[in-house]
Amino acid sequence: MSFTASFQNKEETKDFKEGLTIQDVLDDLELSSETVVAKQNGDIVVEDTEIQDGDEIKLIQIIYGG
């Protein structure tokens, strides 16, 4: 029971838990939903979307400071 989360060319396999959301993954990686867009198996999703077993989560930073 796991899913993968990738951010800036780094991919991590994470343990899957029932009820886990995109927001939890963002918090875990200390990323802000204000600057990052999440894709779940290729589809853009909102932060309260629940993660499923085997998901591929891709986090894309769209806002850079400066």
Binding site: V37, D43, I44, V45, V46, I60, I62, Y64, G66
Partner: protein, 310 residues
């Protein structure tokens, strides 16, 4: 489960804090296009027959500006062209230039890549290696403006479109306000004109679109964008102001929009009392409008021991 407020599609890409509205990709794209069209109409940003030059870096803001203005070109309302500036930042700018070139080719529009090196005989990487430089952003701002103004005349453009979004614009308003810089404050807004015939009016079609939504629009439309931060970005007062606004927005999601709208209301009064600086002379070296003997670009170049290529 959340569904699209407009069409019921369960694939929601955004829930807007300010309105509680949830949208699917198609409805979100439509909502952005409608909002930008509304700004363009209300502020009279373009008139039929305009030739609009987009300052195209390859980043999300300029790519989305180009994409939305292209719908006006397709309807034969305007003609479109683009300029990309290569500041000469190794490991950063090349990718943006490639993406800009690809977009211009795909749309089949007139496009030119102009480099600092070609214009000024020095690039940003070289400037940053000199002693006592003024900081990257100072050169970039002045040199880019110089190139954009000149290229607009070369293209015969009647408007220059930049990708400023709601975050950029509200930051600039608050920053100039906090610094008491009322002269700069009077030159913000959706359209900037000048009495000098050498300056092409500048328009900001995305100024009411939050930065995150500009990025989301690019992703939803599958537009390739350059995702990277400038390696020379540094701590600045502007960044501090940006952070304050972003923090405030968490509990007050309409704060940037109200900053903008409040400014728009006082702008006519500010303009009346603090007229835009009018450059009645030309720079002795390059001929660009300047109220001093030398324009800012030529002044900086002189310090660096360089001169413009005309």
């Amino acid at each position: 489960m959340t569904v699209c407020t407009k069409c019921g599609n369960p694939k929601v890409v955004i829930t807007r804090k300010q309105s509680g509205q949830s949208l699917c990709s198609d409805c979100f794209i439509k909502s952005i296009e409608k909002k930008v069209q509304k700004t363009i109409r209300r502020e009279k940003l373009i008139t039929k027959g305009d030739k609009v030059m987009v300052a195209l870096s390859g980043g999300k803001d300029s790519v989305v500006t180009l994409d939305i203005l292209n719908s006006y070109r397709e309807r034969h309302v305007i003609d479109l062209c683009a300029v990309t500036i290569d500041e000469g930042i190794k490991g950063y700018r090349d990718e943006g230039v490639r993406i800009a070139v690809d977009h211009a080719k795909r749309l089949g529009i007139e496009h030119e890549v102009v480099s600092f090196k070609d214009c000024f005989n020095i690039d940003l990487d070289e400037i940053m290696k000199t002693d006592n430089h003024r900081g990257s952003c100072t050169y970039c701002g002045v040199f880019r403006r110089w190139i954009i103004n000149r290229q607009a005349r070369k293209f015969g453009a009647t408007k220059i479109a930049t990708g400023h979004n709601l975050d950029d614009e509200s930051e600039a308003i608050l920053m100039n306000y906090l610094e008491g810089n009322i002269n700069n404050l009077s030159s913000l807004g959706a359209i900037t004109t000048s009495k000098s015939p050498k300056f092409t009016p500048k328009i900001k079609p995305l100024r009411e679109i939050p930065e995150k939504e500009v990025g989301l629009y690019a992703l939803c439309k599958g537009l390739e964008i350059h995702l990277a931060g400038c390696p020379y970005a540094q701590e600045s007062f502007r960044m501090e102001v940006a952070n304050i606004l972003k923090d405030l927005s968490k509990n007050h999601p309409t704060i940037m929009y109200s900053t903008l709208k409040g400014y728009d209301k006082i702008k006519p009064l500010v303009k009346e009392n603090y007229a835009l600086e009018y450059h009645d002379g030309d720079c002795e070296i390059c001929g660009e409008p300047s109220s001093n003997k030398l324009c800012r670009a030529c002044t900086f170049l002189k310090e660096l021991g360089k001169e413009v290529n005309i």
